[in-house]
Amino acid sequence: MNNIIVYCETNGNSVAEVSLELLTKARSLSGQLKVQVEAVIIGNDLKGLEDQLYAHGASIVHKAEDSRLEFYQTLPHTSIVVEIFRKEEPQICLFGATPVGRDLAPRIASSLKCGLTADCTSLEIGDHYEKKTDTTFKDLLYQIRPAFGGNIVATIINPGTRPQLATVREGVMKREETNPVVKGKIKNWNVSEIAKKDDFVIEIIERQIEEKRVNIKGSQIIVAGGYGVGSKENFNLLFQLADVLGAEVGGTRAAVDAGYIDHDRQIGQTGVTVRPKLYIACGISGQIQHRAGMMESSMIISINTDASAPINSIADYVIVGNFSEIVPKMIKYYKKNSK
């Protein structure tokens, strides 16, 4: 009762990365609230997936299996999750801010008449004093998110409705397994009893999901290029540096829009969020929407011809100059000094 529930997505035979990130975060919130973490997982054949969920801190796994639920569908998932929330009365529920989470969570929020905050980048527990009614609300979920095109950061609360619902961006929370792993319990839910026939009115005719080709999110070192790199050919230089460093290459939206680099490598508010050990920014001005996706990097090196480029104010090292002269030098001296 009044625990934290994480809605977990699956892809094929594993739990989605973002769901494991959320379980990890839920664990730290649950410590503060002295409650437990539970997971909801829905699909066709979910055998064995509970182990991943236990390993990330879930003590109860709510499972709903049905042959019609091989792929995500809005209406049956809404019915099932709403039913679980009604029965279990969690205080907080988290969803990934993915196409699935952003499709499902609002439908659930509307059905339960509960507040929902989209695309959170940070979650905290705290109190709230309401002047008008002279009431203090204890232990609310602070739902922190960028708004207004990334120009402001807002803290949102839902004092009066339960559960407190939020979707959370992929990649902003760190995933960590528990140690030791405590085996939890499975609770099965009967889909045919919960989902109505009408819930299956939308028919999936075809799906083409590509395996993610690049994994910049998982990379410890990222060499990123912006519009200042100037061309697709010039990006080869960044790929060479990435190659010797064992890094991945990312880009800004301006670089993606100009066709210098593929969309799946875009970093920032409308791309992926990364937090590598080292971020080398080449020809990137550092607009707020780009910084939103990389400022958690442990170390940032900026290479820019403009000494006053905004990115320099969050960088640890600034090299003022033309990337096309500097990057080859970095490659040369890395080769010389490594091993």
Partner: protein, 290 residues
């Protein structure tokens, strides 16, 4: 097949994409007044999908519905210039302060007063980026939703065949009518204004605009009813006031912070061989690289 009634949900938003230096106040806060009010970009993608359905099914009508202050009537005129047939402006001070739940309640209440087969919305608006109003309105209307739509490929008596754009792929679904869809920015851009429509609708006005106008257009609008932009208040749609505005909004904004640059002591490295080599050596030695 029978003609379809299509409603497009559109919002007027501040152009947050161009928050330049002049839009920032000295204290680092955003000066909203300095931002241009525009037709929310993905709502234009939505309008285009609606117009394409209208092209596919002759006789169909496209009606815009927007909620906002009086000047949001601009969105309706803009939509009519591009091919929409008419529009409704939901405007009332009692809507002010609504979060997505209260907004979707207002919109769903208005939509349920209209006849419709398809409701088309943009995936999200650039001032909030929540993507919540579409699905929440669908839930309140009790109809299915299809989000992240890239293209409505086929329309027939049984419903729509729709291509969705997902993170790393696509999905094709068949949806019955009525349905609410939200359109993604990867969908085709909206067609431009049509000169003939601009001539026809440039004097389209809401009642409030007519009352505030210096010239008297009422005669003209009486003669040409298509120039009337319908204006609805809370009372007109029979909505419950408690479910609107701040009282109908479970989410509260606790705090707003402006994102200001935290000046950081960056180490400046000269672009010469010696300094670059010593940086690389330092990074190797502290195990950042290698």
């Amino acid at each position: 097949m029978k003609a379809l009634k299509i409603i497009v949900l559109a919002k007027q938003v501040p152009d947050t994409r161009n928050v330049g230096k002049d839009a920032m106040k000295a204290d680092g806060t955003v000066n909203r007044a300095a931002l241009e009010a525009i037709f929310n970009p993905e709502d234009l993608n939505a309008l285009e999908q609606a117009l394409r359905i209208k092209d596919m099914v002759p006789g169909s009508t496209v009606t815009l519905l927007t909620m906002g202050p009086g000047r949001a009537a601009e969105v309706i005129r803009e939509g009519m210039y591009r091919g929409a047939d008419n529009g409704y402006l939901l405007t009332d001070r009692k809507f002010a302060g609504s979060d997505t739940l209260a907004t979707s309640y207002a919109i769903a209440t208005a939509v349920s007063k209209m006849e419709y087969d398809i409701v088309v919305a943009g995936r999200q608006a650039i001032d909030g980026d929540t993507a919540q109003v579409g699905p929440q309105a669908a839930e309140k209307l009790g109809i299915p939703q299809v989000t992240y739509v890239e293209e409505v490929e086929k329309v027939d008596a049984k419903g729509l065949v729709i291509k969705r754009r997902l993170d790393n792929g696509m999905e094709r679904v068949k949806a019955p009518l009525p349905v609410l869809i939200t359109v993604h920015s990867s969908a085709p851009d909206c067609r431009p204004r049509i000169a003939k429509n601009v001539m026809k609708f440039k004097h389209a006005r809401t009642l409030t605009e007519l009352q505030d106008a210096t010239e008297d257009y009422s005669q003209m609008i009486n003669n040409r009813p298509y120039l009337k932009i319908n204006e609805w208040s809370v009372a007109d749609i029979g909505a419950d006031e408690e479910a609107l505005g701040l009282s109908g909004s479970p989410t509260k904004v606790k705090k707003i912070e402006n994102v200001v640059f935290k000046a950081n002591e960056a180490m400046v490295i000269q672009a010469n061989d010696k300094e670059i080599e010593s940086l690389i050596v330092e990074l190797i030695e502290n195990h950042t690289i290698g």
